[in-house]
Amino acid sequence: MIPVIVILGYLALIAFIGGIAFKKSKENTEDFFLASRSIGPLVFFLSIFATNMTAFAILGSSGQAYRQGIGIYGLMASSSSFVIPLTIFFIGTRLWALGKKFGHQTQVSFFRDRWECNHIGTVIFALSAAMLVPYMIISIMGGGTVLSAISTSPETHQALIAYPVGCAIVAVVVTLNVFLGGMRGTVWVNILQTLLFLCFGAVAVAVISHKLPHEFSYYMRNLAADPKTRFLVTREKMPPQVFWSYTLIPLSSIMFPHMAIMCFSARRVSAFKQTVVAYPLAILAIWLPCVFLGVLGFATLGKIPDPDGVLLRLLDAYAPAWLAGVLGAGIISAVMGSDAHQVLALSTMFTRDIFAHYGGRERFGERRSVHFARGFIVAVTLIAYLVALALKEKQGIFEIAVRYAFSGFAAMAPVMIAALFWKRSTKWGALAATLYVAAFLLWTALMQTGHKPGDILWQAGDIKVFFINPRGDVAFWNGFMTVLPMVLGSAFCVFLFSVLTPPPSAATIAKYFNATAPHAQP
């Protein structure tokens, strides 16, 4: 009961924050979508970090560590701590400057103008929205599942908050927060979320260590001494090809529409400076305790049916109820923080890149555009909620879709890099790369559903180019992840089709490359 009270209190606080943000808002799209580009350095860091940290950072990381061991930190966390700050440094700062100078609020409007082509923006919008929607649905599903799990009585096994009610609570609170507060309400909630996250790991480790019958070293040594569990404290079972391929996945971060939109919202470019330095340390603060506790969970609890629930079980066994409540609030907060950004990003893109771009703004004005955006937020959340209810049993499909969405966004990074740094890149290069990514994703989805582990999908001579790995995923030559051919293929398409087609006009090249060149005039 205590965890449920903590979580409900937290949810009420989020709705309240949305209300305060509403009072501060102005009725124009730049204020609603970007908080008038006024986000200061500390809030910017806390918010951009929260944008990227989903519930996976806590539950998924410990669950994966329970299954695969400590290698998960190097695979997912330390690779992100290297790649994501670099992309924010090189790409985020340039996006910010171009947004500030030319008024862009989304990547799509930048791509349209940079390559003098409406259609390229529309195609990229369609692909981005298609990759983002499953993510949004799974956030609501995750929220419903967690609320239901946390409120389940250990004696009666009855959930105080049933799954549909849990999904509804998450959907309503997210809608209220985004509907009322827009970007301002979303980033204020993110502050709370990141602070909760940053404190949780250290507190959980300290509390659990106090209650455990033995010291941490005892459990770790036992795992290392047993040949059956040694893989948990090494990377013996982790293929180096997967470990290496995974370093490409964090390229997706800056290509997620909500992440790019966050970059447009900073007041000053100096906000990025503190962010890029603090980002790897924040990853360390969250992931290290969660991965460690996941492995410790195996050592202390043995086999459990739901590895993603290992942290909840550890807290149940070794921590007071209030800490489980804080964890629940942290998870719900992570679910809703990223969901709110996704909903806002979809609404921003749809309102700016489709509604306003195709004449809606001229016809209805700025004020009505904000009303349209709010209506879109309600509609999209309602649809996501209904899908989350109707397809509860098909959650696995959405999880696969999200996994491939990361590869898809990572494969769009060469398009962004070309737009920002290569004058000669053309709309045809960008279009070819986008279609390549879309086609690859579609092909992967078809192959994934129609084949079983071990099936060879394409063989050239003796070389298995594509096959289904033991996990059931499509894999590339020698066991590399498909993100590798996706990123390389996308980069090749941008290059080849750009050199084969005429460059953008000299005026556009001057406009964009003088704006971000070292000696540009303001």
Binding site: I70, G71, Y73, G74, A77, S78, S79, S81, F82, P85, L86, F89, T93, R94, W96, A97, K100, K101, E215, F216, S217, Y219, M220, R221, L223, A224, R230, V233, T234, R235, E236, P240, F243, W244, T247, R267, R268, V269, S270, K273, V276, V277, A278, Y279, P280, L281, I283, L284, L288, V291, F292, A515, T516, A517, P518, H519, A520, Q521, P522
Partner: protein, 70 residues
Amino acid sequence: MMKKILLVLLIAAVYLAHQDSWNWSKADPMIFGFLPVGLAYHAGYSIVAAAMMAVLAALAWPKHLEDQEK
């Protein structure tokens, strides 16, 4: 120019350091008595990544973009 080359080499070196094949099958030494070496190494790697970003922010910050703040 020299500064740029050194910074590129720094980024490349930090990237390569991520692929710590020498720790692959090792659990020992346990750092602080309980952190397997592979985990401690990558925790340290995150700190090195932060230090690298601090160096980049100090020596290669795109100052010209600050013009857009005006």
